[in-house]
Symmetry: C7
Subunit: 237 residues, 7 copies
């Protein structure tokens, strides 16, 4: 690293001379340290697949959730700093609940993503706090399936299919090659699992993947048996 | 960079010995890192053209909007840090809405530009926050077409035609050569597209340009087909 | 230590270039300086065993508690900075009490763990404060036995069996080898004591271990006689 | 620059060993970077002349105003940081409006200058903010014509004739040689234009000068035709 | 001292890489600079003995109190920074008074010790303040005699007998050798005085020791005659 | 300057090792950069004489006032940073007005001096602000003539005759030689003018001295004609 | 000075590694820069003697008071930073007045000393402010004569006789040799004056000493004639 970089990377309240925010870039590194999550828009709904590595057999399987139910119709997937992700997911839940109370109906994916992103943006402009070291994927059907990514800069983008966390660039490259519009949910699940597999060295087993599909009837969270079957269907085990 | 510069560029609360604000200048670099937007005043209204590069085919086309509808009659175009731009556009929307509620009619372009600019100026004088890394173009017809630029120092200027974001100096040089008073909107669109094209190396296709025309009847946002046709009309494809 | 690390470890409000939070890692060192505590989920309840070293014979035996009664049905075990642990235990007690007042029933283990973890996370994101130098194990039966760990980053994880404090890695390795699902409380106690013993050089006596079992009828805190007997039953004395 | 100076110039909350406030002096440099404005007291009223350079032919003529109407009877001219000037002019307008509401009549030039100056002084004493990088001339007839200067230290001074902004020292030297008491407004305008011309290399044209005369009937802002005629009358074109 | 230590000892809001809080350790040095105080639990009550050195014959004997009456039934002894000790003793008095008003009876020794300790802990976690440079011994009969120590980290521990202040390690070593359970108050006084004497070079006289015994009837503060007699009884003069 | 001094002169919240407050001493330098003011107690009242240098013939004579009417019966003279002086004079005026409203009569010289001095002292103890770079002389008849000096440390002293600002030490030396008790106001004026003249190189003229005499009937401000005559009477022109 | 000391002396919120507070020690140096004050307890009351040096014959004799009347029955003497002393004396006066209003009688010497000392202690623990650079002696008869010292650390001590300010160590050494219990006020005055004389090089005259005696009937402030006589009685002139 150049000493020049060190002069501008100690906080979020300064730009570097070339207009970069180093602390935001470092927060992206915190995201890259997390295990990956894949999201895919399909004709039926949004498919989320998480690589749920358990570092110890003593750790309960659902111990560190990476897939989150926001309000029964909206789901989020997170990568990076776990406690930061929990705070953002809580923020999204409270926002969705307040909007539902105010307007009598659930907010769409994009308004929720933007509300959380504005909260994240504030940590990138004022001093005295670090950015959130986490990225989110948000998905729902309102009424068409929508998948949004939220990154530590407060940027939101809508994707057909993408990944956050470790190896996300490699996974996205696989997705670019394999994704086609018009996929059904089961096809999208296979595309997601295979992309996740490409960026992975170890073998799969039922315990090490989490799957959720958000469609117009709600969030369908797979149990370990269905997760294992999905891996079989994707010809990965 | 000289060590002297480094002594004065760590925050907005100090001047350099020659009276410069380095953090504001670095924020301008953040703007220059964004893709360009062109605005042109015509006899009918204000034309906005954005270079909407999509870094991945998986990214939804309207994912990162650069053209924004403020209140149905005022439009904004942004360049630079995306999350910062969203905050300023939100600020402008709220201001326009509050003024409309208070006075029964929509505010003009200049009052909106000034209100946002005052908000931006505050981040350039007090410590503890960085400037906004974004520039805006604002346009509307009240009753004559007006195009304003807002830069990270909080400066607002009215232009006949200008550009913000990457290559904006080259684009503006082309505009100075090609702009004439009395252009109609369709002519202004061609002038804007050709100026954008001059600062560009890749070929155009329908997906990679966004167009909006603000006239006395509101904001006319082009779909991809009309965008492609505009490029054809400008003899760029 | 590299000088590079020193550039990023003076506070919680900055990430290192590789996305780490050094102050949180140093807080984990503060935990590792404490004496260890073991927790084991069994079919009957959660077993906690603490290594209660007394550095002086003049020190009263129950002087520095490592096992804490939160509300009669939830227990916590702590390792690390003693005064910090007391603050977190107080925080958990107040939260449990308030929830009970609000909803008429005691909260479960996971909500309490999450509430404390959110409080801990705040100290890892804002400047002006250090993280808590303490880790907690929380256990209860609601209605199944549950054991949660809370670390200085604000991460909570559910374990079948784990340890915090000094030698916790070695103890956990022993637990991974000896833990089986379906253990009864007395078996779990033996597993916990033997794991604690493996990471220990001195001989045991009745005064130097604390035991508590949380089951559906409440918290059963062992007196020194029963502690001594447990060590005998585990064939450690 | 000496390293000694650098030790005392990072904020407004410290004096240098010789009792200077470097940040205030740097703010004066920000003023000197702006284009000049001249003010002249005459028997009829106060004449303001601004050098309104437009760096681009695409920039609208009245884009960056340097002459400001405060309340119909008081005018201000600014030099230096444009956004800062807008804030101070707004401050003066609000003050004048509040005084008029409170006392039923408009405040005089001196009370307005002092109110703005007190606001400016605060930025030169407390930390956490930089001084305003702008100077103002304020003029009105209450009942005699009065011209006040406000500088970034918060100092106000009454002048017969003076200039702020770039080349202001040279312009003032010309004014000292040419100013006489008892000038009428048209004579004062010629004196002001010629002084401005002396510190200038380029030729004049109608678009590049702004003129306003404040007399007992209000503020008379010249259009470009009258500005051009004034330059002709002053034998400058 | 190593330069590494200097990197982490400028405030309470950071841990050192090995999880230490240097400012708390330095506060312990402030305690060690004070004259020692000894506390001993006996069957009748808690005995406090302070080494009341008077640096000048002009100084009034009771000038700097080291033994404090908290509420008639609880006593405290302090070592270290005198003004800090006075603040903590005041804090304890107010807490005891408020609890008595709220519940109609005096709080026990342990709740008072914990309340003060929580106040102390806050100074060890947040920036902007230093820790208290003082340690306290608190004693009372509620209904059994109890002796608590409070150190600058906010740690409280119950002791049978201990010392704080200068030479406290040596004094505690003597206490470990001489203390036996079941001592009566007069025996405890002798044990305390002899331990204090072991860490001392000068000869004793009546003016240079303070004694207080807290039993179920209140606080018995010895006058100088009884102090002198206690030294005689302990065969020290 | 020694590097040691630089270690302690960056703010008002620290003492140097020899118990000095460098920022206060630097503020005294700011006073010494101002033009001098002389005050003399006489049997009739207090005489103030200011050296009112006008750096430009275009500057209005009364532009930068150095003699201030506080409430019709109390006067102040200032030296040093002009905007700071205006703030302190405003503070004194408000205090005098509030006291008059509260008690029905004007406060004496000493209470006003003390109130302003307490305000000044606060800037010398807390961080985040610099001291006031100004000194004041305050004078009035309540019922005997009184002259007080207020310096940037917040010290107030009563003088028979003294000076503040540039050359004040030389002027005071002259006053010590020429001042006698029992002077009438006209004699005191001559003493003051001659002392001011001794520390001065240029010739006098009517425009360059300001005179005010505060006696039991109020403040008598001299016009330029009387000022010129006073210089003649003092045999200075 | 060692570089090690410089690492810990820039504020009150950190301890040095050996548990010292350097800023408090530097504040004691500020006290030592002041002229000395002596206090002596006698059978009748407390005697205060101040060395009232006047650096200029133009300075009014009572200009800088070192002896202060707190409420007619309590007196204070100060040494060190004059404006700081005025703030502490004001604080003591307000406290005494409030206590008198609340309880119908004046507070004793010790409660007043403690209240001021607590205020002083706060400046030695929190950042953002420096300690008070002043020491006080407080005296009164309630009902026996009492003399307390308050130093910049917030320590209060009761003395039979002591001194603060310059040469106070030498003066105290003289007092230790000459002070006897049972002195009457006139004898105490002589002891005080001779001790002050021992640490002094110049000759005495009536103008250069201030004397006050606080007894059960109030505060007896000596005029210059009685001060001169006291010096004669003490055989010093």
């Amino acid at each position: 690293m150049q000493s020049n970089q060190q002069a501008y990377d100690r906080g979020t309240s300064i730009f570097s001379p070339d207009g970069r925010l180093y602390q935001v870039e470092y927060a992206r590194e915190a995201v890259a340290r997390g295990s990956p999550v894949v999201g895919v828009e399909t004709t039926d709904g949004v498919v989320f697949v998480a690589d749920s590595r358990t570092p110890s057999p003593l750790l309960a399987n659902d111990s560190v959730e990476k897939l989150h139910d926001l309000d029964g119709r909206l789901a989020a997937a997170s990568a990076g700093h776990v406690a930061d992700a929990r705070r953002l997911v809580d923020y999204a839940r409270r926002y969705a609940q307040e909007e539902r109370l105010r307007y009598g109906e659930a907010p769409g994916v994009e308004p929720v993503a933007t509300a959380v992103a504005d909260h994240v943006q504030e940590t990138t402009q004022s001093g005295g706090t670090r950015p959130f070291g986490t990225a989110l994927l948000l998905g729902g059907v309102d009424p068409e399936p929508r998948l949004y990514e939220l990154d530590p800069s407060g940027l939101t983008r809508r994707w057909r299919a993408t990944a956050i966390g470790g190896d996300s660039e490699a996974i996205r490259a696989t997705l670019e090659a394999s994704y086609e519009t018009g996929l059904e949910a089961t096809e999208g699940l296979t595309v997601a699992l295979r992309a996740l597999d490409d960026g992975r060295e170890a073998e799969w087993d039922g315990a090490s993947v989490d799957v959720a599909v958000v469609d117009s009837s709600g969030i369908d969270r797979f149990d370990s048996q269905r997760c294992a079957q999905a891996l079989v269907d994707a010809e990965l085990t």
